[in-house]
Every structure is written in structure tokens, then in C-alpha cells.
Amino acid sequence: MDFNDTPQEAAFRKEVRAWLDANAPTELKEPLESSGFGNTNVGDADIMEVSKAWQKKKADAGWACLQWPKEYGGRGATPIERVIWSQEEGVYAALSSVFLIGQGMCGPTMMAYASEEHKRHYLPKLASGEEIWCQLFSEPAGGSDLAGLRTKAEKDGDDWVINGQKIWTSGAHFSDYGILITRTDPTVPKHKGLTMFFLSMKSPGIEIRPIKQVNGQSGFNEVYFTDVRIPDHQRLGDVGEGWKVSLTTLMNERLSIGAGMPTGFPEMFELARSFETVDGPAIKDKALRSRLADWHVKTNGLKYSAARSISALSRGETPGPEASIGKLVAGTTMQDIAQAALDLQGLSGALTDPDHADAAARFQAMLLRSPATRVEGGTDEILRNIIAERVLGLPGDMRADKDVPFNEIPTGKAN
């Protein structure tokens, strides 16, 4: 048991370090390090501009989307090399957040289902950050129950005509392309009548409306489709096979592993050490110590669960189910930590101005962003179902919609 690189891994790490030392945008290091949770700080610079510049620089030198084949803009690297890259990229990885959905989910889906011509055309620009992609899956009537979606696609000559609405689409407002899942047959059970496409977000008939989030930002949008036309060659997978295609996307969503998900523990520990209460330093408080111990155990557990996954990758194996617990543990831990940090601060804990609040208001940002972690990309409840069913082998839930044609499934008032 050791944490050492193999000789090949060490050589690769050295190469990565050398390149980063010579090329990383060091002028952004300081603001990036002081970023609040869910909020990338690049000082006075324009976030999109610096993100695109860094991505392009990486791509030109062969450090973008490392695990993709070279002909699609990647490096043909092994999974472990990708992990080493992300460990070394460190704080600059925050500059990749606008590309994450496109490169992490849309890219692999295109790789698996698009034509060779499309792959060679679209993937290199997705890798280099010149074009940004979004994921048009969730709808008002289909989130956890994604297969309950209603956006219609109807064949008209060589085109498909799309009508309907997507919601919670992150980055739709700055995206160039998107992958879109639609219903092509409402008369068969819901999982069977779906079809996947990709399309330009500039297509006539698309209207994008930003949604204001709990934390005041507008990262996600409503996207309306009115008679939007998509040529049939932009279909991904067969007609009616959209569910299968979407599983490729969602699997990639849950496969991203690295240093373990952040929980906010190091920040909280630092606050507890430095914060003076009327009874002395907060960290001497017994009740708080017990909670700190719990959060440490979770954070460290995630860190070394990631190490176990990386070891599996290093041996050329697929990581086991331990990779699935990260978001589930990190989301609630972060929310607990944020509440405890505000509790220490008393009424001042309510303040969100970085000049007035402790720790540059990062715990307030955490409080207001952490609920989203527990929802996006599979809610806590859905993740528990996945662990119970796929890892522990327990039976599926009872379902009222099984084998019922989609257009006969009961719906509620909130749909």
C-alpha cells in the first residue's frame, strides 16, 4: 500500500508540472484561491474570456480533454493520466467550469453516437473551449423522472420539428450547441418513445429565459422550442432509443472523480481555530469539536475513497461503487457546515457582504449554494435509490407508470 506514482506516472506528472509552471495564468492564482463556493473569482478579468483563453492554450498544447482520442481534440491519455492532470491543474481547474457539462457529458455522448464526420467537426472545438455545449434534459414534468419529459419531436421530410420546453439548463445562455432529448412516440411506455439529438442553440425558434437562483445568480435557464427544425443526421442513436443514449450521458455525469468532492471542512476548521467566542476560541467548544470530528471523518473518507478509485484506475480497472457516494455525502456535509459557521457568528452570520462577514462571506455563499448540490445531477433520494438498487441489489420501487402508454400516465397539479 503506497501513494507513490509508478515510474510512467511520475514521468507524466513531471511533464504536466513543467508545462503548468511555464504556462499557467499565475496572475489569476490569488483571486481564484479566494473564490467563494459556487462563485469563481477572477478579479477584474472577464470570466468567460479568461476561461476560454486558458482552455485554448491547453488545447493547443494537447492538455484539453486528455482522455479523448487525438483526432477529436484530446490526447489519447489513460484515465490515470487524466487524474494526474487534474491533481496538478489545481486551482486553475475552476476556469473549466463553463466547459464541464459539454466536455464531461455531451462530448462522451457524441463520441458514442454521432457520425464520424460530426465527431471530427464538433469535438475539437468543444475540447478547445471555442464552442460551449449544454445539456437539454430536464423539463418541468421530467427531472428525477427524466423519462416523463414531453418536448415533442415530429418527423417532417428530412427534418424533425421540435416543440416544447426544457428547464434548469445550465449555461444555455452562453452555449453554442446542446444535446436534446425528446419524445417521438407518446403512445408507447415512456422509456420507449424517446429520441436524442444535438442542435445549434442559435437555431430559429429557440428562446432562452434565465432563471434567478436562490443564490441570486442565473446559471440555469428555461429553454422554449417553437417549430425548431433539426436535420435527421443530427439524431444521436436510433429513433426510440433516446433513453439508452441518455444513460451514456448520465453515467459520465457520475463518473467524474478527482481529489474527492469538497465539503467545506478545511475552511470550517480554519474558522473554528481563529474565531473567538466569549468562552475562548471556538475550537475549544466540546459540542463543536464533536461535529468537526464528524465532518473530518466524512471529508477524509471521501478523499481516500477517491484514492481507492484512482488505484483501481491505475491498475487499469474500472472504479467500484465507492465513487457513487461523493455528492451524497458532500452536499449535506457542506450544508451542515455552512449552518454551523453562521451559528458561530451570531446575527452577523446573516450578512453577505464580504467586507462585513467573516471569512469573506464564504459560508454565506455556501449556505445559499449547497441546496443545489443536493438536487443537481440526481437528488440525494435518487442517489440513495441508485446505491440501494445497483450496489446493494435491492428491488426497484413500486411504479404506477410501468408498461402504461405515456399518454395515459397520471400527472399531478405541480406538473
Binding site: D2, E9, E270, N300, L302, Y304, A307, R384, L394, D397
Partner: protein, 373 residues
């Protein structure tokens, strides 16, 4: 990076599991639960025959010198089987104390017998209710003579030898360690009833008993702290093994037991409870592996890693064992089903070498020390 046990270590684990499945099944644990015996001798003899007690004891002292990673995988299996044997007292605690503080002569004299499993030793510290702390200890030693009593001592009725923490000076940490032969007239012992009758707890009275000093006088607590760090990792593996087994038993039952015309494992309240048990066991496993790495390399991180593993595994075992009963419903509360074996053991292990809240406190101390450095 290779944050996994090796193929050889996995083979050892399988071998120990096969032995325990065969010779330390529920009925064998129950001979101690229901009977007069304080431990299962045939299980002990089987472990002895496999040479497992000497796993982390160097060859020059009669062990196999295989190492701590090997001892960790054995501990996990012993925990899984709720083994009713004094392995932890004799090996994780007493043998380790000798390794840490014994003179060459003392090691030569005692370790080979512990390594062979021919003698059983334990560590005697507690005297009162409350936290384990040297300031609370009053059993006195002077000129190699011990007077006072220890209670409870784990495996106290079974052990041939005890390493006793005795007061030898006025300031709170002035305690020293003595190796005491428990088979002398000046010793009387009484077996005590406990929440886990599959393990032995006893009161030992020392009426001018003779003992042999181990380590420097008045520095006994330094040794105990070192031994506890090592022991914490090993106990954590026992707890992990138990947590894993309790989880598996709950999952199996949830698939077979039907209510309202469907398996209870299809009700989300049950499913999600089981998913949470899995998460806590998985976090404990990763923390235990980190502890194993620190123990086997004697890393500077050991104190922190040991406390982390100990807290994580204590929680996981308590969490999994109580919800295993819950999953079994009324059956879970019967003497006949095995759920209570894990419930008992998890709550006993949570108290040995310092209880959970004490370890939580220590963990934070250690994180503070690291951050101050």
C-alpha cells in the same frame, strides 16, 4: 498510487474468512454467549495453528513478522465473525506495549509466547466510570509491588498476564507500566456481567502483587498513547468487518422478507436506510485504509489517521448494527437471530481504548497540532 491491499494480503484474508466461517459460525459464538466459557478455545487454537497471533511480531521474537497490513485484514475478519476470543487484548494491546516499551530481555521472555498464542495477555487501565485519563488512576505500585484494583479489564478472567497502569508519583501523568503474572496468590479476579457476554470483562484485585516495570518510571502514559494509536487502527478494522457484515445481513433480509405483498427492500424508507449504512461503512473503509497505511509505514500522520479511522469505524459499526436490528423488525429483537451479536459487540468496541467522544476530542487535538505546525 496503490491504495489497496495486495493480492497476498487478500489471499490471507480469504483464508482467515474460510476458517472463521467454518469454525466461528454463530453457534460457536453462542457457546460463549450462552455458556460458562469466557472465550471459545477451539477458535483460539485454530487461530494459533494458523500462526496469526504473531503476524506483526518480528521473527526474532517468535512472530512471522508479516506486518501490520496483514494484521489489519485479520482484524477485519475477526470483527466480521464477532469472534469470541481475546485476540485484541493480547495482540493489539499487550504485545504492542512490549514492542513499544519492553527491554530486549522482556521482549525475548514474553513475546514468543504471545506470538504462539500459548499465553494470553491484556492491558489493565480503567478503575472508575468516566473517561480514560491517567489522573483518575489510583492503583499504586512501589518497589514492584501493586496494590489496588482494576475494573473492568477486557479479557481479565482469561489472561495469564496483564500490563497494569499504576500510579507511581504525585503529578497526574505519573503512572508506570507493570507486567504482572495474574496466576499468583496476591491476585483475585471476578468475571463481570456486560452488554457483550461474548467477550470477557473482569475485575482484578491486586493485593500486594508483584510486577515487573516496563518502560521508564512515570512515563507509562506516553507508551499507552502510542499503543492506543496502533490499537485504534486495528480495532477500527474489527469494527469495519462487523459493520460490513451487519449491512450484508440487513440487505439479505430486506430482499427475502415480504410485507404488503412486496419485499421490504422495495420500500424506500428501508432502502434509503440501507444506502446510508453502505455510505457509512464505505467511508469507514476508506478511513481505515488510510489508518492501515499510516500504521504500516509508521508515518508521522499515524496519530491523526488512527483517530480518524477509529471515529469513522465506531460510528459505522454502531450505525449498521442498530439498523440491522431495525431492518429485521421483531425478529431482530430475538435472542435467536444474530443481530444482537453485532449490536452488543459494536457498543462494547465503541468503549474500549477510550470511548467515541474521547477519540473525537483527540482527533481535533491532532488536527490542531498539525495546523499549528
Amino acid at each position: 498510487m496503490n491504495f489497496e491491499f495486495s493480492e497476498d494480503q487478500k489471499l490471507l484474508k480469504d483464508q482467515v474468512r474460510r476458517f472463521l466461517d467454518d469454525k466461528c459460525a454463530s453457534k460457536d459464538v453462542r457457546t460463549v454467549l450462552d455458556g460458562a466459557a469466557t472465550y471459545n478455545e477451539s477458535v483460539w487454537n485454530g487461530l494459533k495453528d494458523m500462526g496469526l497471533m504473531g503476524t506483526a511480531i518480528p521473527e526474532e521474537y517468535g512472530g512471522s513478522g508479516a506486518g501490520y497490513l496483514e494484521l489489519c485484514v485479520i482484524a477485519e475478519e475477526l470483527g466480521r465473525a464477532v469472534a469470541p476470543v481475546p485476540f485484541s487484548s493480547s495482540i493489539y494491546l499487550a504485545a504492542e506495549t512490549l514492542l513499544v516499551a519492553g527491554t530486549e530481555e522482556q521482549k525475548q521472555a514474553h513475546l514468543p509466547k504471545l506470538a504462539a498464542g500459548d499465553k494470553i495477555a491484556t492491558l489493565a487501565i480503567s478503575e472508575h466510570s468516566g473517561r480514560l485519563d491517567p489522573s483518575t488512576l489510583s492503583l499504586k505500585a512501589s518497589d514492584g509491588t501493586l496494590k489496588g484494583s482494576k475494573s473492568p479489564v477486557v479479557d481479565g478472567s482469561i489472561a495469564d498476564l496483564a500490563i497494569v497502569v499504576a500510579r507511581t508519583g504525585p503529578s497526574p501523568r505519573d503512572v508506570s507500566l507493570y507486567l504482572v503474572d495474574l496466576r499468583q496468590d496476591a491476585i483475585s479476579r471476578k468475571t463481570l456481567d456486560s452488554i457483550d457476554p461474548t467477550r470477557d470483562l473482569a475485575e482484578i484485585a491486586f493485593n500486594e502483587a508483584s510486577g515487573e516495570l516496563i518502560g521508564e518510571p512515570n512515563r507509562g502514559w506516553d507508551v499507552i498513547e502510542k499503543v492506543f494509536d496502533r490499537g485504534a487502527v486495528l480495532f477500527a478494522f474489527e469494527q469495519l468487518g462487523g459493520a460490513q457484515k451487519a449491512l450484508e445481513s440487513a440487505v439479505d433480509y430486506a430482499k427475502e422478507r415480504y410485507a404488503f405483498g412486496r419485499p421490504i427492500g422495495s420500500f424506500q424508507a428501508v432502502k434509503h436506510m440501507l444506502a446510508d449504512m453502505y455510505v457509512s461503512a464505505e467511508l469507514a473503509r476508506s478511513n481505515c485504509y488510510y489508518g492501515a497505511w499510516a500504521l504500516s509505514t509508521d508515518a508521522p500522520e499515524l496519530a491523526e489517521a488512527a483517530a480518524t479511522a477509529r471515529v469513522a469505524a465506531t460510528k459505522a459499526y454502531q450505525h449498521c448494527s442498530k439498523n440491522n436490528i431495525q431492518t429485521h423488525g421483531g425478529m431482530g429483537f430475538t435472542w435467536e437471530f444474530d443481530c444482537h451479536l453485532h449490536y452488543r459487540r459494536s457498543n462494547l468496541l465503541a468503549l474500549v481504548i477510550g470511548s467515541r467522544s474521547q477519540w473525537e476530542d483527540q482527533l481535533i487535538d491532532r488536527l490542531e497540532a498539525r495546523n499549528a505546525a
